[in-house]
Amino acid sequence: MSLSLKNPEFLIERNYDRCINCQVCERQCANDSHYYDEEMDKMLSKDENCVNCQRCVTLCPANALSIRQYPLEYRKNSNWTGEMINNIYKQAESGGVLLTGMGNPTPKKIYWDHILLNASQVTNPSIDPLREPMELKTFLGRKPGKLEFDENGNPFPLPPQLELDTPIMFSAMSFGSISINACRSLARAATASGIMYNTGEGGLHQDLYQYKENTIVQVASGRFGVHQEYLEAGAAIEIKIGQGAKPGIGGHLPGEKVGDEVSRTRMIPLGTDALSPAPHHDIYSIEDLRQLIYALKEATDYTKPVSVKISAVHNVAAIATGIATAGADIISIDGYRGGTGAAPTLIRDNVGIPIELALAAVDERLRREGLRDQVSLVIGGTIRNSADIVKAIALGADTVYIASAALIAMGCHMCQKCYTGKCNWGIATQQPDLVKRLNPEIGEERLKNLIRGWSLEIKEMLGGMGINAIESLRGNRLMLRGIDLNERELAVLGIKHAGE
């Protein structure tokens, strides 16, 4: 094709008073955005290659770099925005589907930010977490509606439970979509923090079998890397039906990311695209799901809880009830802002519903059906900070999944180019020179710090409410008030407006 109409998205600004020609930026950019020109004895840039991952900015020892939105402005138009126009140029040149990575970035309402928390004043005391015990321990798994005791006064054993030290887990991210060093960081941090990480649908690398007690192994429609040993290598099994970033379609791993290790772990040929089918071809209805749940339970001798993960879609409450009655021990719901390694842009930005509303609807429905105390509820997509977690639990979740936040903790700068496999931070890549940029010791430490910091904040907020155990927050919607929400929104969330 002749002239490309695409404009650069970003502008690299270099302060030549500071640049020392050390070429660190050049060596760190997998997109070849920087180069040294010998004749001019100067560092120069190719703006069109820049994805704004900020690796160069962060590593530049002279603070000589900054990246900006490319200052080209189309004629003002609220309908045909620059992004819309650029997307059309891209497709007119490629004839392909617009691809992207990470979660929905569009400016739709974020309900977390319209919910406020309560605190104690006078009529009951707040509790000081620095001086008093503050308990975050959480159990996931099926529970009997009522407890029965044998003739010796011992309770009949419960179905298998996951025990979490804090109500946070690392959500599914497959080996393939992320690097082995990212997987190592997550597995080790989960183990050290007393929580779980989730393998995603890409099987389990042999090096990670040692973290069994803190691993949830996922079974998705592609069944990549699923075998008996794999099922036994986790503390729980998750059936992935859907993902918030791309409800209705399966996982996509481009062949460029399928190297030796990924190919062996997934049990697929080297360099082939790993495309999970949109549905599970053995699940066309709820009774089929029941069969898969029990097939997995049989295969592991009823020793592990089975979770079913769905994306938040319009009738999520009814689907979740179906999943509970189909025998799942844990229901996991992923909101429409959840991240992904690769998704069609238009699906990511237009399919699914906000997790806050989905969670409120599911919790309410499960309670109405009298099922809520028997099945565990995990939500994700997106949790951005500890206040989101407190709000999620008060709306009715048992615990949350985080993934984007975990990636950011490891260095991700949300450039949304995971699908290219050229992650300069060593996270969403399989290129050996890039993979080693993430030292798993550092990754583990940063993740552990994040979990610790958030847990401390959760304790502070609980203490403020006069609560010293997380179970007293669960479903406690009286601790929440809405702000800038209309009657329908308040009704769906099941909360009052601030001032009421």
């Binding site: 009529t123 009951n124 009522k146 011992n154 010293n468 406690n476």
Partner: protein
């Protein structure tokens, strides 16, 4: 959704372990000493053993806002129960008590045909009818529904309420009392303590921070929280765990005032397994935040504090009687030299039972 009602309080209870009945004078004297713990917006008493001549019958105590409500309720009662006796509860004029509703009592037994057709136990049947009246008949409220026991309560200081109901004329083997300090003014007689269901009566001091979680849990099990008070939720929790789930009383206590995980870790393996299992299954029953409660029942009382002891509770014992109160002075007021007096630790239940209690609490 109505606002949740917050209140502080004083409470007191006296049990004669031998089952000997005594007049209301002592309990009135005890609760009156803690006058400053209430603000005149609620006082009440539960008395066990007061209706020996009707002990096979459920004693329903009712508030009516008007005659119309009474007619409706009596129609309902006549349909579902056989009524042995009906009468206005005797009261006397008291200076500080005004705006009282019509106050009636009925001694009833479920209608056998109705009971059979509903396929419920007798207790479940009574609970269902109580809830039905309270929810569906405007201006009527059943505030007591046990056998051989009764609750007397209203808007006013507890000693004035006692005077109003002439409680010195009643004799019971167990008395509990409550003086209330609500932060807003519902001005409704039904909102005073004790709160009851069948034989269970609860008086309670403190505000439960876990109310929202407890409420949604208990509502999932078919209870309807219409009063927006902690006490109501606590009563239902005890009813669910003791009567419906048939848990041993120790398990109920562990669910409601769970030991801390750090304490559970230090327990012997068997005890640890029991505690851990109860917390895992009944986490939503944990009452979090400050409370002291006295749970009265036909065989005695259970007194319990929140697990980090944020509200006061003192217990004492002499040869014949067990005492419990918010303040030690309220016990010494009626028993100057008890054999034993102590402050139970947070989460540690004090279980006081009649000496001849045949089959225990449950």
């Amino acid at each position: 959704m109505d606002d949740k009602i917050m209140s502080g309080c004083g409470l007191s209870g006296i049990l004669n372990k031998k089952g000997k009945r005594f007049s209301g004078k002592d309990i009135i004297q005890s609760i009156a000493l803690m006058h400053d713990r209430s603000n005149g917006l609620g006082g009440g008493f539960a008395a066990y053993g007061i209706y020996p001549e009707h002990k096979e019958y459920y004693a329903l105590h009712l508030f009516y806002d008007h005659q119309k409500a009474r007619n409706k309720v009596e129609n309902t009662l006549e349909k579902y129960f056989s009524i042995k006796q009906r009468e206005e509860i005797p009261t006397r004029k008291v200076k500080n008590i005004s705006n009282q509703p019509l106050i009636w009592r009925y001694f009833v037994k479920p209608d056998p045909n109705q009971l059979e057709s509903r396929e419920l136990t007798e207790e479940e049947y009574v609970v269902e009818q109580v809830m039905n009246v309270n929810e569906n008949i405007a201006g009527a409220y059943i505030f007591s529904s046990g056998k051989n026991m009764g609750v007397f309560k209203g808007v006013g200081y507890p000693e004035d309420i006692a005077d109003f109901f002439m409680l010195e004329d009643y004799e019971a083997y167990l008395w509990t009392a409550h003086g209330r300090f609500p932060t807003n003014t519902p001005g409704w007689w039904g909102g005073a303590h004790p709160f009851t269901l069948l034989d269970w009566s609860i008086v309670h001091n403190g505000e439960i921070s876990s109310y929202g979680a407890n409420k949604r849990y208990i509502e999932m099990h078919g209870y309807k929280c219409t009063m927006m008070t902690d006490t109501e939720v606590i009563t239902y929790l005890f009813d669910l765990l003791i009567r419906k789930h048939k848990l041993p009383i120790e398990a109920v206590i562990q669910a409601i005032a769970s030991p801390l995980w750090s304490e559970i870790e230090r327990m012997e393996p068997q005890a640890q397994n029991i505690a851990k299992t109860i917390r895992t299954v009944y986490g939503s029953c944990l009452l979090n935040g400050p409370f002291s409660i006295i749970l009265g029942h036909s065989q005695g009382f259970i007194a319990l504090n929140d697990r980090i002891k944020l509200r006061p509770l003192v217990v004492a014992e002499d040869e014949e009687r067990m005492y419990v109160a918010s303040e030690e002075s309220a016990i010494r007021e009626v028993c100057p030299e008890p054999d034993k007096i102590w402050t139970p630790r947070g989460g540690e239940a004090v279980i006081a039972q009649l000496e001849n209690a045949g089959k225990g609490v449950v």
